[in-house]
Amino acid sequence: MKKINRQQQNHAHSDFYIRRIHSLLGIVPIGIFLCFHLLLNSSAIIGVEAWSSVIDGMRSIPFIIVAEIGVIAIPILFHAVYGFYLVYLSDLHPLRYQYYKNWMFVLQRITAIITTLFVVDHVIFVRIMAHTTMDVMQAMAHVLQTPLGFVLELIGVWATVFHFTNGLLTFLITWGVLHGERVQRLASICTMLLCGAMCLWTLIILARIAMMPI
């Protein structure tokens, strides 16, 4: 809405590229990492031994720290920092425009903030401060064994799952895959079913960890 001079507008395509990189990073690698992360931790459903051997396996990969920083930490940091700027840029008025997609738009921004807080907490207590496999398991189990901790952890995980699945839908629109309104609606239903399935799945994982004798 502000006045902008013609010169600035002609050569400045940087916004476009930054936005597209932001969109891409949400799925590759962050979304893919999230899926693998949940998949690997699904071993907790089988039992303590299965879970600890998977964590051991992950921790024993040589130079894993390089992948952790390069493929996970830096992309998440960029996605979060630029994402916060995008949250600031939009006016949220879900009450004036009570349409399904507008609610999704608002929830995407609310879950962005919850997810960031959750990830920071998760990284500090389960990665940086936990040095051994046992530390990791204890860090998770101790939080989940208190009712408040369980609820907060569940909110964090579900916010992340929603942000990922709804982000997957907008990713497909942003990258020009879904064109028509009907296919967008169908994809919206599919991603929300995926969201529901992942929420149920993560609930089972968290509940199993909470019940572990650690």
């Binding site: 809405m1 502000k2 902008i4 916004d15 590229y17 939009s90 507008n102 738009f105 629109i173």
Partner: protein, 256 residues
């Protein structure tokens, strides 16, 4: 004898661009087949508010009275729409005659006075996106290429856009913090890019909407499509342009 019936207009007024807005109510004598414009004209004829004070008549814009010009766009009961096609009978049928009909000026544009706003930025943004076909020249170019009928039918739906500003008003990313061009721009770019002659300058328009405040600022809230009075295919236009700009970007970077 039937008692005299009236309905209430609750209007957000503002005396000039720099003064604070205030609310004022008016009682309008009910007649069948009124719309919001004709009720505002009643106020012009008899500018007395609900508590009997004589006030300055409410300022508003209108032009065509048939929902094709967009001049009378305002927020009626919370929804951006044209005052001419907001029928009093239908609103009363839905909400009852006692519930005030709330009129507000559009919030994303500078208020000139009362319900009148300056929608210039909408037209400026069409210019930013080069949403026209440059065919002017000093000699005749002969007949143009034929227009594919399917494309023409789709383009016709877009051509009904009257730049009223409802989409921009409802868009969460069109605001004072951003330079977002607004949803209507992308429908027009799509239309001119589909045109057999317009498609010759396709990339120029795509580059323009990849610039500052361009298509990348769309956040997929999709309020635009919900409030559009003309059912312009905004979602499809934006989605298809997304593919076009991405391909153009790939071509530019990797010489694809």
């Amino acid at each position: 004898m039937t008692e005299k019936k009236y309905f209430i207009l609750k209007i957000k007024r503002q005396d000039d661009p720099h003064k604070a807005p205030y609310w004022e109510e008016f009682h309008i004598d009910y007649k069948p087949n009124m719309n919001v414009i004709s009720s505002l004209m009643e106020i012009q004829r008899h500018p007395v508010n609900a508590i009997g004070e004589k006030v300055n008549p409410v300022v508003f814009e209108c032009n065509c009275y048939e929902e094709v010009c967009g001049a009378c766009t305002m927020i009626i009961n919370g929804r951006p729409q044209q005052a001419c096609s907001a029928l009093i009978d239908r609103i009363i049928q839905k909400n009852g005659i006692d519930k005030p009909i709330i009129l507000e000026p559009l919030t994303k544009f500078p208020v000139v006075r009362d319900l009148m706003v300056n929608r210039k930025v909408l037209f400026d943004n069409l210019r930013r996106a080069r949403a026209w076909i440059p065919v002017d020249g000093s000699f005749g170019l002969g007949p143009g290429p034929r227009y594919d009928e399917k494309k023409r039918a789709f383009a016709y739906r877009i051509s009904r856009c009257m730049t009223c500003g409802c989409c921009a008003e409802a868009c969460p990313n069109f605001n004072a913090k951003s330079d977002f061009m607004g949803p209507h721009v992308f429908a027009q770019v799509k239309m001119f890019n589909m045109h057999p002659i317009g498609s010759m300058q396709k990339d120029e328009r795509l580059k323009a909407i990849m610039g500052h405040g361009g298509i990348q600022d769309c956040g997929n809230a999709q309020n635009c499509a919900k409030v559009c009075p003309k059912n312009i295919p905004l979602l499809r236009s934006i989605a298809e342009l997304n593919l076009d700009v991405n391909l153009l970007a790939l071509k530019k970077i990797f010489k694809w």
